[in-house]
Symmetry: C2
Subunit: 204 residues, 2 copies
């Protein structure tokens, strides 16, 4: 699917990224099954031959859109784990990074959540594995918090609820008119960390 970098002519990667972006918009608007390769070519202004120079197949485009965002989030999460020793800061950083990425790549996340199940075989397995890896970074952050005493011991399912709070935002997040995504992330994380029930000393 990906060509070795050394063999890529100048502009090859730029064109691929442009095609993936256009494809994400089309898949998000008309569905994966509702979009043909000829639609992708038309939107990108490329004939079939030129298009296949950049992409392997429609399914490979879906794979790269889905995997692209998850890989970015995994790289970001690994980096935050390396840099932040405080588990509460780490959880806030993971939340902010995810909300910012969803806000900046709404079409890609929409395609991921709605369509990744259309991937087959190895491609699907790889995306599922990458998602589990990502969940693992959140789980590890909570575990760090429990070990340090900053968090109470948690049932392991809690991480699914926590991720749901953030992931579900692809449906409603408004990066233009609403709060900055980082503020939404902090608001959700604070609600989850401190709870909705007042604590002694909370302002009412």
């Amino acid at each position: 699917v990906t060509r070795p970098k050394s063999a890529a002519p100048a502009g090859y990667d730029t064109n691929r990224r442009r095609i993936l972006r256009i494809s994400a918009d089309l898949f998000a608007r008309n569905g994966y099954h509702g979009t043909g390769v000829s639609d992708l070519g038309k939107a990108a202004g490329l004939g079939k031959g030129a298009l296949y120079h950049y992409i392997g197949s429609k399914e490979s485009v879906l794979y790269e859109i889905s995997m692209g965002q998850v890989s970015q989030m995994n790289a970001y999460a690994a980096e935050q784990h390396d840099q932040l020793a405080d588990p509460i800061e780490l959880l806030h950083a993971l939340a902010r990074g995810l909300m910012r990425n969803i806000a900046d790549h709404r079409a890609e996340w929409t395609v991921f959540f709605r369509e990744y199940h259309a991937l087959t075989g190895d491609w699907r397995d790889r995306v599922v594995a990458a998602r589990e890896q990502y969940e693992g970074y959140w789980r590890a952050a909570i575990d760090k918090g429990v070990r340090s005493g900053a968090l109470q011991t948690q049932p392991s399912l809690v991480v699914k609820g926590l991720l749901g709070m953030f992931n579900y935002s692809y449906l409603w997040l408004d990066p233009v008119g609403g709060l900055p995504p980082e503020d939404v992330a902090d608001l959700f994380m604070d609600a989850m960390l401190h709870g909705l029930v007042p604590r002694p000393g909370d302002p009412q």
Copy 2:
């Protein structure tokens, strides 16, 4: 779309429900755009004419699948608001009802979350309005809690995070091998109400 009850022969409603259930399974597996009316007929064992006796169009099937679950949840939420004066009990009841419904109607919720955007015009508007009504029941439950002093004043976005925790479960909830959906709901609601950070007196 719906025929007046008085005109419906015996078995008409049963057949419609069966067709909607089969359609939900097919849409969940192959996508709305990837499923044709002829696929629905084949799976239901009905010719085109017989099928159209029960459904108006493929889009009307998508509408009824989506609206069916949301309407059930609205009716349930209205009932809980009437019956439960305690806002914490009310929130737990809303959460349990939603998780139970998602567990029992996995295919329908999958279709709803992945495909409702394929609805057009009035149909789409009605589903969106029903969803907003449902969110309103959760918002009202939180407001009751804030007024009674059981909950801290909350930014209004918190309800989106709370719903996300539960809604996202259509992707992972395991009604067979996992915890009963009501227990998952209680676990999430307790985490959200009390927070992950220990309170004075919490066991470690």
